[in-house]
């Protein structure tokens, strides 16, 4: 009897053991329970945060009727896509994304019978995404620029003409220079400075005919390569101011500009580097053939362009043989690698939304504006080497892997930082998937275009072989001849206060 009970208990125990094991295996190997349990135990503290609130420029326009549109232009000259304001009760507000720092933004109002320009010195990037909208009152920010009037128009033209006459772009105007110059010009105007008063009067006179026949005295958009004389519309002068020609206008402007000192000082050890990647249809590769962005990458409507790269191994590193400034120390290289994505794919996003340095929203030209360490190449101590970058674009989702996202496997793009056009920035314009540009090893540049296979750095140029490792020109007219420096979006050079 006792033996039977013992056997029964043993059998029951064995079944219990089997059952418990089966239950445990089922519960934790794929039956849908382990996920929620582990997830609950390991949840991060990430939370969804709002985007940064807008910067809102508020101001007034002298004489403008309600409904007048106030357009905004980037310091580089391009209009902001989708950013404008409307005059109501002689005042207006224009909203700018708070996640982007803008300097030297130009405002323009046009209406039948008038036109007015002004410069907004600085729209700072918000400090926290939790901060409220930042109201930028133009009257306080730059008194000489508010309200938008003949005076603000004249001051804007003076500053604009001043940098143009010195061969610089309007983007090089630092906020401090704009504020100080506006204050100085205001003082000179009230002090009856003849040149300033004379130019302001000329502008006021021209503005009296604004809008007649659809003509306005001052262009909203300055053509590429335009000079001081192009700041006034010759057709308008011919139609409405026969006594004034462009030379007289330029002379008067420069005379007034001579009364202010527009000093532009660039940071010597850093430089703004702007990468532009064209994903638009019809983009041409280095052989002037239509590029195929999806030769390697796989398209998906939710994907976007990412950048990744690092400081190239041939960049001079400070040590016993090479001394600053023509080299980078290890800490600087490490920091720059982090900024460049350190060769992790799909982590550094490029933008085509008109923010963070991007020029025009939705034009298929993706922009990444970075601040990188810099020294001019050409030093004998380094064999002419400068700061060199290897990089690559990818078409992916955030944190995606390489497969199906990178432009091509294996190779990298090469670029040596050198400000060739003197705008205080390095701007590199690429076409996604273009294997005939600055791809390093298996470069597809055709023999007819000078291709030799590999792409060589400037100090390693092979005779008869083309090379492409620096900021580059683009070919906007489709003539298969890159002849125009690209617009660096809304990015500005890194300026610093000039030494006293």
């Amino acid at each position: 009897m006792r033996g039977d009970v013992h056997r029964l208990r043993s059998a029951a125990y064995r079944r219990l053991t089997v059952w418990a094991n089966v239950g445990a295996v089922l519960a934790f190997t794929g039956c849908g329970l382990e996920g929620p349990i582990i997830n609950a135990g390991t949840r991060d503290k990430s939370t969804l945060l709002p985007d940064a609130a807008d910067n809102v420029v508020i101001g007034a326009v002298e004489g403008a009727p309600d409904g007048t549109v106030v357009k905004a232009y980037q310091a580089s000259g391009k209009p902001f896509g989708g950013i404008s304001g409307v005059v109501a009760g002689s005042t207006f507000e224009v909203r700018f994304p708070g996640n982007t720092l803008y300097t030297g933004v130009r405002l323009e109002a046009r209406w039948s019978g008038g036109q007015a320009l002004a410069l907004v010195p600085l729209l700072p990037r918000q400090k926290s995404v939790l901060d409220p909208e930042n109201l930028v009152d133009l009257a306080q920010e730059a008194p000489g620029m508010s309200p938008l009037s003949a005076t603000s128009t004249a001051f804007t033209l003076i500053l604009w003409g001043k940098v143009l006459s010195e061969g610089k772009g309007a983007a090089s105007l630092s906020p401090g220079v704009i504020r100080q110059s506006a204050a100085l010009l205001t003082a000179q105007l009230t002090g009856h400075n003849a040149e300033v008063v004379g130019f302001v009067d000329m502008v006021r006179s021209l503005l009296s005919g604004a809008g007649d026949g659809g003509l306005y005295p001052f262009p909203g958009l300055l053509e590429e390569g335009g000079g001081v004389g192009d700041l006034v519309d010759a057709d308008f002068l011919a139609a409405h101011a026969p006594g004034t020609d462009t030379e007289a206008f330029e002379q008067a402007l420069l005379a007034a500009a001579a009364e202010v000192d527009v000093a532009v000082c660039l940071a010597g050890d850093r430089i703004r580097v702007v990468f532009l990647c064209d994903m638009g249809p019809g983009a041409m590769d280095g052989n002037c053939n239509e590029a195929d962005p999806f030769k390697w990458a796989i398209d998906d409507p939710d994907k976007t362009i990412y950048f990744t790269g690092g400081i190239h191994e041939t960049t001079p590193v400070c040590g016993k043989d090479i001394q600053p400034p023509a080299c980078l120390d290890q800490a600087t290289i490490d920091a720059a690698n982090q900024v460049l994505g350190n060769w992790s794919p799909n982590m550094v996003k490029m933008f085509d939304d008109g923010t963070r340095g991007d020029g025009v929203k939705g034009d298929g030209l993706y922009t990444l504006a970075l601040e990188l360490p810099y020294f001019p190449p050409g030093s004998l101590a380094t064999g002419g080497r400068g700061v060199r970058i290897g990089y690559k674009y990818s078409w992916g989702l955030p944190a995606d892997g390489w497969t199906g996202t990178e432009e091509w496997p294996g190779n990298q793009r090469l670029m040596e930082l050198a400000d060739l056009n003197g705008d205080g920035m390095v701007t590199r314009a690429d076409v996604f998937g273009d294997e005939a540009s600055n791809k390093d090893k298996a470069n597809a540049l055709s023999l007819g275009n000078g291709g030799c296979g590999p792409n060589y750095w400037e100090n390693e140029i092979q005779a008869g072989c083309a090379h492409d490792t620096r900021e580059n020109r683009v070919d906007p007219d489709g003539g298969c001849q890159p002849d125009t420096w690209p617009q660096p979006g809304s990015a500005s050079p890194i300026t610093v206060d000039c030494p006293m």
Binding site: R15, L26, N39, L48, K127, A399
Partner: protein, 637 residues
């Protein structure tokens, strides 16, 4: 040596038959061939009257014939462990397709090669369902059955996790544990079911296709169910609780592909507090639906029984990761776009011939809250209410109905969400006569003024008019009336009366002559907006059907019959702004058919002529003259 040879010979003679017979005994095969013919005097081609209303399928149409083959394999590994697999050919290839290979070499172009129509038209054989089942007798008074694999989910009830429709019978897969204590007085079921990616959730999916999700994640979406039944001699108590949980990736987790914060920086590049890469990705619930029912069946007397069912349905929806299907999908959504909680009550009393004269009675009270919704409930082929309802296929407590993948001779189901009312039925059986009479009164918990059908409650776009299930079209290009899922309207103040009489008598002629008749009247009143009387709807729906079936010889039966419908609907369709119109519909249907069963062969043929005349006050009148037929041949072995 001689001994050794004798031993080997003995072993071979003795052992071989044992091994062979053991293999055969452990196998069981079942085969089935099914052929269906469809005909209609129109120009659509295919072998399924109503296909999928959303995904364009290539098998739906009214003219075609196709065959499918099914093979079920049962295996017994031991006394306690069994296995099952079903392989079946894909239905949809028409006989005229001849040599289709399954290729689709020419994109969407159909041509005469054998390579243009794709796999749906090639009758390819596919593994449809598998299960492994183990019986684990823990003790003499407690046994368990563990099933891993396919199930039709029939262990719960239509309110919670419903039995899936026949065509999906092996598609549901999971882990199922059933146990019995004692002599079956206490039993239980536990289930973990992999959620179908297609229909259990907002946007009829567990994430795929939701515009708010860039990377839908559906491989960890599960439903969980638990049921316990206590069944003493005098009744049965059943408690069921289920939970469907659709999880999605936490897009703020920097480890997730597609994360908003891959570098743990916000819009300004500032570090996000608490954000850290740990190479582990978190999930959030996109949509959860929990339904719990308690059902009590009491049988205290032979002639008296009572049933009570109480339920609570809870829906939780994360709007951050669920796009608004009401606002963005023209009001066509299987869920309200909000968190919901509501109750359902059903009381039923049956008096089974209490006077011993063949007269029985059934009474039912039902209450289903306006926010009740059971996303994983039965979608068709089931019925939770006693009433014949407005359509004949049954009433189900979900917006997730499936009036699809059916032919014209199959019934539609309707949603009873918000229904509140009573049904009384009297059933009389005397010799060869069966007679039953039903009266149902329905008012609606969904009655409301200015209900938000723009952002919150789905109205399924078409809410007006009596539903014509004979001539239904999903996109409503033919003014077919209300979508059976349309329980919410902007303005509704509605009540409905349903009266039904069924009569059946079998004469002793040949193999039996059956005469059956059905009469149905629906009085449907909806005052709609309280701001105007111009929109008040009154529908009077009359239906009469007479059918005669005659068994000629054993296995052969013919039937013939007809049905007449008269729908008189005041202010049937329109808008408050532009007014409504009175519409009248007259339908006549004549049908005939036969069934023939012969030595395992089942043949059925059905043909009908349908005439519909719809006179519309605000629109041009419409006429239908439809001949259509369906035949099927089935052989099982």
């Amino acid at each position: 040596m001689r001994r050794l040879l004798a031993l080997l010979l003995g072993l071979s003679v003795a052992g071989l038959p044992v091994v062979v017979s053991a293999d055969i005994a452990n196998f069981d095969l079942a085969g089935r061939l099914y052929t269906k013919w469809l005909y209609r005097n129109n120009d659509s081609q295919g072998v399924l009257t109503y296909g999928n209303p959303f995904w364009p399928d290539d098998i739906a149409g009214d003219n075609g014939v196709g065959t499918e083959f099914e093979l079920k394999i049962f295996g017994r590994a031991s006394r306690y462990v069994e296995g099952y697999a079903r392989i079946q050919s894909r239905f949809g290839e028409m006989w005229q397709d001849w040599w289709e290979s399954g290729e689709r070499k020419y994109g969407g172009d159909v041509n005469t090669s054998g390579d243009s129509l794709g796999l749906n038209r090639a009758s390819y054989i596919k593994l449809r369902g598998t299960w492994v089942r183990a019986v684990i007798p823990f003790a003499s008074w407690w046994s368990n059955t563990v099933t891993i694999g396919s199930s039709d989910l029939g262990m719960f009830n239509p309110w919670t996790i419903g039995k899936v429709r026949y065509i999906d019978r092996d598609n549901g897969k999971g882990i199922f544990i059933g146990g019995i204590f004692g002599d079956g007085i206490v039993s239980y079921d536990l289930a973990m079911v992999a959620l179908p990616k297609l229909y259990v959730g907002p946007w009829w999916s567990t994430g795929i296709g939701d515009p708010s999700l860039t990377r839908p994640f559906y491989s960890q979406d599960w439903a969980y169910g638990a049921k316990i039944t206590v069944a003493p001699d005098w009744g049965t108590f059943t408690a069921i609780s289920t939970l469907t949980n659709d999880v999605e990736i936490d897009m703020t987790d920097p480890d997730a592909v597609g994360s908003l914060y891959i570098t743990c920086q916000d819009d300004l590049g500032n570090p996000i507090q608490g954000c850290e890469k740990d190479h582990a990705v978190d999930y959030f619930s996109r949509y959860m639906n929990s339904v719990t029912t308690l059902e009590m069946q009491l049988d205290p007397l032979d002639w008296f029984s009572a049933n009570a069912l109480y339920g609570v349905a809870v829906g939780r929806l994360d709007k951050q990761i669920t796009a608004n299907g009401v606002a963005q999908n023209q009001g066509v959504s299987p869920v309200a776009y909000k968190d919901t909680t509501d109750l359902a009550i059903r009381h039923r009393i049956e008096l089974a011939d209490p006077l011993d004269i063949g007269l029985s009675f059934q009474f039912e009270y039902f209450y289903i809250g306006e926010d009740w919704n059971s996303i994983f409930a039965s979608r068709r082929e089931s019925d939770v209410l006693l009433t014949d309802g407005l359509v004949e296929g049954g009433q189900l407590p979900t917006l997730n109905l499936a009036n699809e993948f059916i032919d014209f001779d199959e019934d539609f189901v309707e949603s009873c969400i918000g229904w509140h009312g009573n049904t009384a039925k009297a059933l009389f059986a005397w010799e060869a006569l069966d007679l039953d009479v039903e009266g149902t009164y329905i008012q609606y918990n969904t009655n409301a003024q200015n209900r938000d059908v723009d952002e919150t409650y789905p109205d399924f776009l078409h809410s007006e008019g009596y539903t014509d299930t004979d001539l239904y079209d999903y996109a409503n290009t033919t003014d077919r009336g209300r979508d059976p899922r349309s329980v919410y309207r902007r303005n509704q103040d509605r009540e409905t009366v349903v009266a039904v009489v069924n009569i059946r008598y079998v004469f002793d002629v040949l193999e039996g002559l059956e005469l059956a008749g059905k009469g149905k009247f629906i009085w449907d009143r909806d005052y709609r907006s309280h701001t105007s009387v111009e929109d008040d709807y009154t529908g009077q729906i009359w239906k009469a059907r007479l059918k005669m079936g005659l068994g000629i010889i054993d296995g052969l039966k013919v039937e013939v019959g007809g049905q007449f419908d008269w729908w008189d609907e005041e202010n049937r369709k329109g808008t408050l702004e532009q007014g409504y119109g009175d519409d009248r519909t007259w339908k006549a249907k004549a049908f005939w058919g036969l069934t023939y069963n012969y030595e395992g062969l089942k043949f059925r043929y059905y043909m009908e002529y349908l005439h519909k005349d719809q006179a519309r006050e605000r629109d041009v009148d419409q006429l239908w003259s439809v001949f259509r037929s369906k035949a099927s041949l089935e052989v099982n072995w």
